[in-house]
């Protein structure tokens, strides 16, 4: 039951913002279901797969999906994620994390004000 509710919350967030919902699933699995961090992250990725398929199909019926644009960012990102994940084990990412957070905040400001 808890798992289903976590899924519902992640699905709402995912469809509303075009994201997978990992931001909800990972903490929810660790806090509510006593998942260890890595297992929560791995399980979340698999659940996100379902969210992404359901979201793409539903939005496709509304005519909002641009497959060419999706491929343009989505395919290179696969290479990027594999590189990023292995880099994470080797380099100190603390400073980078703050820089990335600052970048996100700037883009957020532009979307909020613009």
């Amino acid at each position: 039951m808890r798992l289903l509710l976590i899924g519902v919350a992640a699905g709402i967030l995912g469809a509303l913002f075009g994201v997978g919902g990992g931001l909800v699933i990972v903490p929810a699995l660790t806090v509510l279901c006593a998942f260890e961090q890595r297992r929560a992250a791995g399980t979340s990725l698999t659940a996100v797969l379902v969210t992404a398929v359901a979201g793409s199909i539903t939005y496709a019926f509304h005519g909002n999906v641009d497959p060419r644009a999706a491929a343009l960012v989505g395919v290179p990102a696969v290479v990027g994620v594999v590189a990023g994940t292995s880099l994470q084990q080797r380099i100190p990412v603390r400073g980078l994390a703050y820089a990335f957070a600052a970048l996100l905040a700037v883009v957020a400001g532009r979307l909020l004000i613009g």
């Binding site: 798992l3 509710l5 699905g11 913002f17 992404a52 496709a60 989505g74 994390a97 905040a105």
Partner: protein, 122 residues
């Protein structure tokens, strides 16, 4: 923004997502909206399709290499998310474009704060 630049941002977005464990969507939506000029709603819808390859490769690696996937739990969360997605799509498609964009902006800001909080704690 040129096609090559969007591809580069997609690649960089993937690296950042992998480094910090945030989803690709958070990077894809602004890239598609600000870079390719998609509307906020179209950018979000397209982002969901764009995260598919990353999620597929990521979960396959996590499952095969590290054994970090609880398939049963993922299935339950996934089934719940199918219901949630329907609700989310109804809300997103009924909101005015600028409201949806500002909501996403607020969500992005929260994600940035969450990342800072998580980094400070680690």
């Amino acid at each position: 923004m040129t096609t090559a630049l969007v591809i580069a941002v997609g690649l960089a977005g993937g690296v950042l997502a992998g480094l910090f464990g945030v989803g690709g969507g958070i990077v894809f939506v602004p890239t598609l909206a600000l870079g390719l000029g998609l509307s906020q709603l179209d950018a979000e819808a397209t982002s969901l399709l764009a995260i598919l390859p990353t999620a597929a490769v990521g979960s396959w690696r996590q499952s095969r290499r590290y054994g970090n996937v609880d398939l049963r739990a993922a299935a339950f969360v996934g089934v719940g998310s199918v219901v949630g997605v329907q609700l989310g799509v109804i809300v997103a498609t009924s909101l005015p474009e600028d409201v949806l964009r500002r909501l996403f902006g607020a969500f992005l800001l929260l994600t940035a704060l969450h990342l800072v909080w998580r980094t400070r704690r680690s």
